[in-house]
Point group: C2
Chain length 243, copies 2
């Protein structure tokens, strides 16, 4: 490992007063396309092992600037938390011979109670055993480890559902601070044995976390999270909310 | 695992206006003795695998009550983060045949630049590669995995150094929110192979984290922390501060 890396700030609009939830569909699609273009471009540099796309919205989410923006940070190592997730999905795949996220999607659609929204290519749900109140996952229906593999049609569907979900969050929870984080596979290189099974066992997705409570000593010390809002109630509230 | 556990709130004083940094030495010693008594008592219940003592001070640290208090939560499993630390120290011990914390203490005393305070039984330092600005570790000189094994003399020394360090933090950083977390070994039971090496490889300590910055998407997503304050500068500032 060396000190190499990239940090890009994607300025989403020239309008200082507009936030992501205010963008129209073609605008939001262009923002997502920018993420995709930058992600694909950074993959050309073999020194970069991982690119993380994330947004800090509001002071409680760590934002220091008001103007609507997203960040992309590329690191020369696969981050600790990403590795943990990859190991977890790999373990599940070895055990069941199925992708855990594909299984979750199928199960959540059949239950329905934790689903917030769906379109032809994506589903948004409040995950079982959510860590935070109103935590949301946004998953593609098509199994793929890489966010930047989305097609033109999927990009349009993603803009539709992301815009809808952000409008619901902002209206329903009175403009909360939130983070979103793209969970996507690390850059793969032809090393033998290096994450060989990712194409089968990993499924990219977006996690959206409103910052309604502050983590305390218990959360920091244990890695366990206390969530006072049942995911089924959070899902129903957001599902039923008109925006 | 079942739904068993304990959550105790230790009210440190009848005086609503006093905080831990205001207590005199005998008072703080009694508070620490209460932690010790409760920890030892909860070990009698074999269903409880871990007891975590922690403090949330100020809103940014997750505190919802002003009145000075500490919390103790016992869980029926060893928490995820605790296991990670135990695995790390075990790995170091297998490699070096020495306790990593004993090694850190020896190294930091000889360097001196990250030491904030010392007495006969304890040392406080700003750890190498601190995650947060002004993060502090408070370690016993005597190797022991269990906080609740401290002697009467050690309890007195701990009250002295903890009081001093809190006074420095509160004065030097203008009454910041902070968390402290006791890092101590899990309750051990006579299971073969269950944390057999803890007595040798683990060393209890306290981590104090002022909440001066808010974690954003990058920290949440990666588990990596961006700290703008070099530990040597933080240590010098606190070391030189008179309280
Ligand atoms: Zn899948
Ligand atoms: Zn030691």
């Amino acid at each position: 490992m060396n000190g190499i890396g990239a940090h890009e700030v994607i300025i989403e609009t020239p309008d200082h007063t507009k936030q992501m939830q205010d963008f129209d569909l073609p605008h939001l699609e262009k923002v997502i396309q920018t993420y995709q273009i930058r992600s694909l471009d950074l993959k050309k540099d073999p020194r970069l092992k991982y690119s993380m796309i994330f947004k800090n919205y509001g002071r409680e989410a760590g934002a220091s600037l008001y103007h609507s923006h997203t960040q992309l940070i590329s690191t020369p190592v696969t981050p600790k938390r990403v590795k943990e997730e990859l190991k977890g999905t790999q373990w599940y795949y070895e055990y069941k011979e199925r992708c855990i996220f594909c299984d979750i999607i199928e199960d959540e659609i059949s239950r329905g109670e934790r689903v917030v929204a769906m379109n032809s290519d994506f589903i948004t749900l409040v995950p079982y055993a959510s860590r935070f109140p109103f935590e949301l996952w946004l998953l593609p229906m098509r199994h793929s480890p890489d966010f930047d593999s989305i097609s033109d049609g999927e990009r349009q569907s993603l803009a539709q559902i992301l815009g809808l979900v952000l409008k619901k969050l902002i209206k329903g929870l009175s403009n909360p601070s939130y983070n979103f984080i793209f969970h996507t596979a690390p850059n793969r290189f032809p090393h033998p044995g290096y994450w060989q099974t990712i194409d089968k066992d990993y499924h990219w997705h977006i996690e959206i976390m409103p910052r309604l409570t502050r983590p305390g000593g218990f959360e920091w010390g244990t890695g366990f999270y206390i969530n006072p809002t049942p995911p089924e109630e959070a899902a129903q509230f957001l599902r039923d909310l008109t925006v």
